[in-house]
Amino acid sequence: MLALNDIGKTYPNGVQALEGIGLRVEAGEILAILGGSGCGKSTLLRLIAGLDRPAPGRVVLDGAEVSGPHEKIGVVFQEPRLFPWLTVAGNVGFGLGRRPAHERRALVEEALRRVGLVDKAGVWPRELSGGQAQRVAIARALVTRPEVLLLDEPFSALDALHPDRPSGPSAACVGTDRAATDADRGDP
């Protein structure tokens, strides 16, 4: 269970991005956070991801405070943020650390299959379309099987996965089994 109580965030330049936010996400639940551009969605996800510390307030995951990046929390940023010097497969396998090579290869292939990009495994990020790059970023987050998956503005990529489906928060559940998913989207 992920819980935020009354958290805020003020950037060093004085911008108060968040104030008095509380929320609670149970296992298996999907939460979409909607709001206009600049309202603080990315900031909120950064706090949950442990990249920034909230002040005031705490982010609590399964009873323990999140004080930094956490192995149970996976993140897909608003931009793909792929490593340009790694191939698609290298990017997806980035977080698999010290696992044996054959295991890593199998996991990467499975993750790429889920986002429909197995055939792109060997290409450089510069050879991908914007939506493909975002799907690689999703695969990179899925491959470590995080319990909490944070998706920042994922809908363009998810639309690319399921062009026939109307876009909406429901699309955010793609590819997560037991993951609680925080998804958000900006103003259309």
Partner: protein, 270 residues
Amino acid sequence: MVDTSLAAPRSVVRRLGGTGWALGLILPLGLGILWEAAVAVGLNSGRLLPPPSAVAGTLWSLWQGGVLADHALATLGRVGAGFGLGVAAGTLAGALTGYSRLASRLLDPSLQALRAIPSIAWVPLFILWFGIFETSKIVLIAVGVFFPVYLGLMAAIRSVDRRIVEVGRIYRLSGPAMVGRILLPAVLPAYVTALRSGLGLGWMFVVAAEFMGASEGLGYLLIDGQQLGKPGQIVAAIIAFALLGKATDSLLGWISAPFLRWEDGFARHH
């Protein structure tokens, strides 16, 4: 769906690109032939600037006696030693100041002050400290190589995209893993560029170092040619410098190319 109106100019550009190197030869070849002809018909004695055939003859006789190879190797050895020393020091200092704010506050002001000194101004001091033989020459070359490597690496580390570093943080990379898996590949293109400009300065400074007094080396051939009035030897040494400089630079580019295949810069598309 090729739009022919767009495809046409592009193919022209490509055709020009294919023969571009040949176009570049027209000017030097033409001037060489003109000069050769001028000397041949007696418009000029060619004593101060020998015609290409005479320069080629000098190069050939220097090469045949093994003299050119000996001098070139001596110079190459000095550049190699000075480059190695300068790169090692520049990499260490650049990595420290780029990575650590404290190291930067501590070291950078002094290094910037030293950089303001024209490096040739060190020559008298280096001769007093290290003597007139190899050490002072190598140190001078190393000083020349140091600054571009130091500045290039420091700036490259500082400008690594914070957003990419955050991905590393998400995967909880340790300090060394962050350096090895993210910072190193991210700074590599700029580092290679810094190495290449360092190498260029190394070749520049080896001439100054050999002017300090040397009994062998291409710089010695220059001085010797001047004192004995042999302009052919001077031009031959200059050509040898150009060839060696270009060859070593290409070697660096060739060694680094496999690591930079991922690059998506302006150069790739032009």
